[in-house]
């Protein structure tokens, strides 16, 4: 038992090195990491799914696959865009659906054993958050004009002397949106995969020490069964988190677009 715990602690300490981006090969000055490769695979899968679904558009889809993709699009259209943005939401549905599907496919790919999720690296989520940040600021400037947009950051009805303070606070909270969007997705994905890895390592360590270190010790192998059950439970939770994080990213982008284009 003590040996297994020691082996587990030793293995777990080297765990974070497995999540560091490592250069697989270099083209010119561009170092391609494993996360880049999975990013392109996710891009290819997303393109393939959407293009196959869009090739044969029907008024009443009969195939299960078409139904699934249409349901996903309808979900973004209704629950994300229409409910949150309100009037004038039609224009933003393609952007939100792209974000939702891409992040969902990235997250789901990472759950297949042996695969990596590209949203588990801060560079990828930072890029996605920057795209969203530029998009809602662009539409804010476009609908309200530069002066109107900056003025609308402070809600109306604030007493005169408080306006600069409130404006500065609102401006700060607007600027850190890019940080929170990026870190939320990155943190959730990285932490989830680390938890899965820790339970996986615990299962193998306890099993190895109990069965393959000289004598066979069946009682000592029992903790690894518990670890494995926990691993299965955490895996189910991670499937939920993969969906929720894609949904949250899309719905927060929609909220920010709503706040930028419809001032209070």
């Amino acid at each position: 038992m003590g040996d297994a715990l020691g082996a587990f602690v030793e293995e777990a300490q080297g765990l974070s090195a497995h999540f560091e981006p490592q250069t697989v090969f270099s083209i010119g000055g561009w170092h391609v990491t494993q996360y880049d490769i999975w990013l392109f695979i996710a891009l290819a899968v997303a393109l393939l799914v959407i293009l196959i679904a869009a090739r044969k558009l029907q008024l009443i889809p009969t195939n299960k696959f078409y139904n699934m993709v249409e349901y996903g699009y309808e979900f973004v259209n209704r629950n994300v865009a229409e409910d949150v943005i309100g009037h004038g939401f039609k224009k933003h549905v393609p952007f939100l659906a792209t974000l939702f599907f891409f992040i969902l496919i990235c997250n789901m790919l990472g759950l297949i054993p042996g695969f990596k999720t590209s949203t588990g690296s801060i560079s990828c989520t930072w890029a996605l958050a920057t795209i969203s940040f530029v998009y809602f600021n662009f539409y804010g400037f476009k609908t309200l004009g530069a002066g109107g947009y900056f003025k609308s950051l402070c809600p109306s009805g604030v007493p005169g002397p408080m306006v600069p303070v409130i404006w500065f606070l609102e401006f700060f909270s607007m600027v850190i949106r890019v940080l929170t969007l990026a870190v939320r997705l990155y943190g959730n994905m990285l932490a989830g995969h680390m938890v899965l890895a820790v339970f996986g390592i615990a299962t193998t360590c306890f099993l190895q020490v109990a069965l393959f270190s000289g004598s066979i010790d069946l009682i000592g192998a029992l903790p690894s069964v518990a670890w494995f059950l926990l691993l299965v439970v955490m895996y189910a939770l991670e499937c939920l988190v993969a969906f929720i994080q894609a949904f949250v990213f899309a719905i927060l982008s929609a909220s920010y677009i709503n706040m930028a284009t419809h001032p209070h």
């Binding site: 409910d83 949150v84 850190i176 939320r184 927060l252 909220s255």
Partner: protein
């Protein structure tokens, strides 16, 4: 060696303390959403927007703690 270990442990403790407030905040926001959606289900769509803005704002504090954990 000792000092780096203590610093690493303190970072984790600090992040844990920083996550208490946002945790309570998101709990209250979810409670409010559930209660109001149960009373007036037709308002649910609109309330979801407010809920996500509020939850994102309070979660931002925990995320700032996480960033400090990485850079500090």
């Amino acid at each position: 060696m000792e000092i780096t270990l203590v610093l690493a442990a303190l970072k984790v403790v600090g992040y844990g303390l920083a996550a208490i407030g946002p945790g309570i905040g998101i709990g209250i926001a979810t409670y409010g959403l559930c209660v109001s959606a149960a009373r007036q289900p037709e308002m649910k769509g609109q309330l979801m927007g407010y809920f996500f803005i509020g939850a994102a704002m309070s979660e931002a504090l925990a995320l700032l703690g996480l960033v400090l954990f990485f850079i500090g």
